[in-house]
């Protein structure tokens, strides 16, 4: 059993604090993704779990015990690095078996485990090659193989896909998910790519500036972002965020256009409150081109500035109160720039954030 617990973990470099007291419980066999923009402390946090970075304050536990003072080799974890870090002077077989050899396992066990890992990852043909003779995707697989042969308590992934081209990245993403379903183990995965986070995670941890902003399942984080940062970071294209003021039962934009306050949020706002109105492009759709009927919908007439057809849908750029807003047209037809369309707004999926704090009015 390996749950991982971070208790008020702090990292300082000299006087500069970069991770500010992180609390996180990761359950046994859970796939947790730390996601955030670069410099948010996600990699540092992962490296503290691995033991590659000292913990300035707080505790990290893997399984039952605190591991703060244990070197990486005693934590029974394995890690996949962004640049793979394969040993160039060893064959794939030696790379895979290196950890077992260091642990003084006998030859038969090493061979069996290496073959098992090679089997899972389809590396059988490549065992005698050196890393230099492998493609990017193959190197990535060897790095994962090296992680699984040791049957560790937890896998740590540090942006493992960011060196691959777009197509291979999608393919390897699927392989990582399959791998996790096959070898059930706790996984902590760091990425700056919110699509990777959404697709892989059991739970997403959104980080910013050394703080955790929100922890939740992909759907929770997507549907109920706690603040404007999470709202804009998760989801592509990002959520439209438009400053507005509450006037009675209306959300009034800066140009005087208004929408009714979403029914479910009516008792969470007060008259005169400055807010930010959040709406995903999926919920701003031309009439007749939405995905799902909304029980609480409103309408706005908007000019289309630009359209980007993607096949199954077209992204429409329009503007609300002088700010760019993106909508989507499902089951699209051709749209010419300058065309005026009537948009359905799914108010039951709209968000309101306090303008001063950026926090969702639901979560305060």
């Amino acid at each position: 059993m390996a749950e991982i617990t971070l208790n008020n973990v702090i990292k300082r470099y000299g006087k500069v604090e970069v991770v500010h007291g992180i609390d996180l419980d990761i359950a046994h066999n859970e796939f947790v993704v730390l996601v955030g923009p670069s410099g948010c402390g996600k990699s540092t946090t992962l490296r503290m779990i691995a033991g590659l970075e000292d913990i300035s304050d707080g505790t990290v536990s893997i399984g039952p015990g605190v591991v703060n003072d244990l070197p990486p080799r005693k934590r029974n974890i394995s890690m996949v690095f962004q640049n793979y870090a394969l040993y160039p002077h060893m064959s794939v077989r030696e790379n895979l078996g290196f950890g077992l050899k260091i642990a003084k396992q006998d030859e038969a066990t090493i061979t069996a485990r290496v073959n098992e890992a090679a089997d899972i990852l389809g590396l059988d043909e490549l065992l005698e090659r050196t890393p230099a003779e492998l493609s990017g995707g193959q190197r990535q697989r060897v790095a994962m193989g090296r992680a699984i042969v040791r049957h560790p308590e937890a896998f740590l992934f540090d942006e493992p896909l960011s060196n691959l081209d777009a197509k291979l990245r999608v393919q390897m993403r699927t392989e990582i998910k399959k791998l996790h379903q096959k070898v059930k183990t706790t996984v902590v995965y760091v990425t700056h790519d919110q699509v990777e986070a959404m697709t892989l995670a059991d739970r997403i941890v959104v980080m910013k500036d050394g703080h955790i902003e929100q922890v939740g399942t992909p759907m929770e984080v997507f549907n109920h972002p706690v603040n404007t940062f999470v709202a804009s970071f998760i989801g592509s294209p990002p959520m439209n965020l438009l400053p507005a003021t509450i006037r009675g039962t209306e959300v009034v934009f800066t140009d005087g256009k208004s929408l009714p306050v979403p029914t479910r949020l009516a008792d969470r706002v007060r008259d005169g409150q400055e807010v930010i109105f959040g709406l995903r492009p999926d919920d701003l759709t031309p009439v007749g081109h939405g995905i799902a009927e909304s029980g609480d919908s409103a309408r706005l007439t908007l000019d289309v500035v630009l359209s980007e057809p993607l096949g199954t849908e077209t992204i429409l750029y329009t503007s609300i109160a002088g700010l760019e807003a993106q909508g989507k047209m499902f089951g699209p037809r051709d749209v010419t720039p300058g065309e005026t369309l009537e948009f359905d707004i799914a108010m039951d999926r709209a968000h309101l954030f306090d303008a001063a704090t950026g926090n969702s009015v639901r979560s305060d």
Partner: protein, 286 residues
């Protein structure tokens, strides 16, 4: 079409001729020394010069080892042993310090790191000979004149900045994730160094070793100041034994020079494989 091919051929020939001329300029003095080692002293100063020895013989070698009547033996075995001991010991120490220092500069953050590194490099800007008098005075006070240890210390000091600089560069090329991956894989920091980083930096360490060895093996100026007798005199200093007040035994000196060159050549050939491995290392990275 034909024209382009012709031009390419002319280019190749020109490159070849140029390379040949350069190699001649570099090699002829060495070749002259080797040829002279096999000819009698009289032929050395002949006018016009005699290129190929008319009666090549090993007489010069026999003479310096004390065989034959007309020459006082030069204690070549003692000089050779001194040179070997001093060069090997100082190279080993310089490599050890160079590896630790190079690794530290490449991997660790510490106070005054850049200043220290710059200081090491600046120490190379002082010509060794400028230090010979101060070293002589200090060494004579503490009794290190005419002692192998005295020369070993000097050569270590001479070589360490260079070995640190060269080895630091090689360790820098190895991503630090290699060592981290090894540590996660179960290695101690030392095992990670020894099993992963050291093999990858081996070619750099070998190059540093050759340079350090050749510096110590060939050094003359400081050694001539700090040595007196067969206790510590090295081969290059021993060359001066062939000069008397009015005569210089050029042939004997050349024979001795050949003896000095041979171990250096052997060592370079032995380590050459690693030097070439160092050049192809880039293809393995990633």
């Amino acid at each position: 079409m034909m024209n382009g091919k012709l031009r390419k051929q002319i280019g190749a020939i020109a490159t070849w001729v140029l390379t040949f001329i350069l190699m001649v300029i570099i090699c002829v003095p060495g070749l002259w020394v080797v040829l002279t080692a096999f000819r009698p002293n009289g032929e050395v100063l002949a006018k016009p010069p005699v290129w190929i020895p008319e009666n090549p013989s090993l007489n010069n070698f026999a003479k310096i080892f004390g065989f034959g009547a007309d020459q006082v033996a030069i204690p070549v075995p003692a000089y050779f042993a001194n040179s070997l001991i001093i060069a090997l010991t100082s190279t080993a120490i310089a490599l050890l310090i160079g590896m630790s220092g190079g690794y530290a500069f490449a991997r660790y953050r510490f106070r005054f790191k850049n200043g220290l590194f710059l200081g090491l490099m600046l120490s190379r800007t002082v010509p060794g000979i400028a230090l010979s008098l101060p070293i002589f005075m200090i060494w004579s006070r503490i009794g290190l004149i005419d002692a192998k240890l005295g020369l070993i210390i000097v050569y270590v000091a001479l070589n360490v900045p260079f070995t640190i600089w060269l080895i630091d560069g090689f360790f820098r090329q190895i991503p630090k994730e290699m060592s981290e991956a090894a540590q996660v894989d179960g290695c101690t920091r030392w095992q990670a160094f020894w099993k992963i980083e050291f093999p990858l930096a081996k070619s750099g360490i070998a190059s540093a070793g050759i340079f350090a060895f050749l510096t110590s093996w060939n050094e003359y100026a400081l050694a001539s100041n700090l040595t007196r007798s067969t206790d510590s005199k090295t081969l290059p200093v021993g060359l001066m034994d062939f000069t008397a007040q009015f005569t210089i035994d050029w042939a004997g000196m050349s024979a001795m020079a050949v003896i000095i060159i041979i171990p250096a050549l052997i060592l370079t050939f032995l380590v050459q494989k690693h030097l070439i491995a160092g050049l192809t290392f880039g293809g393995v990275k990633g």
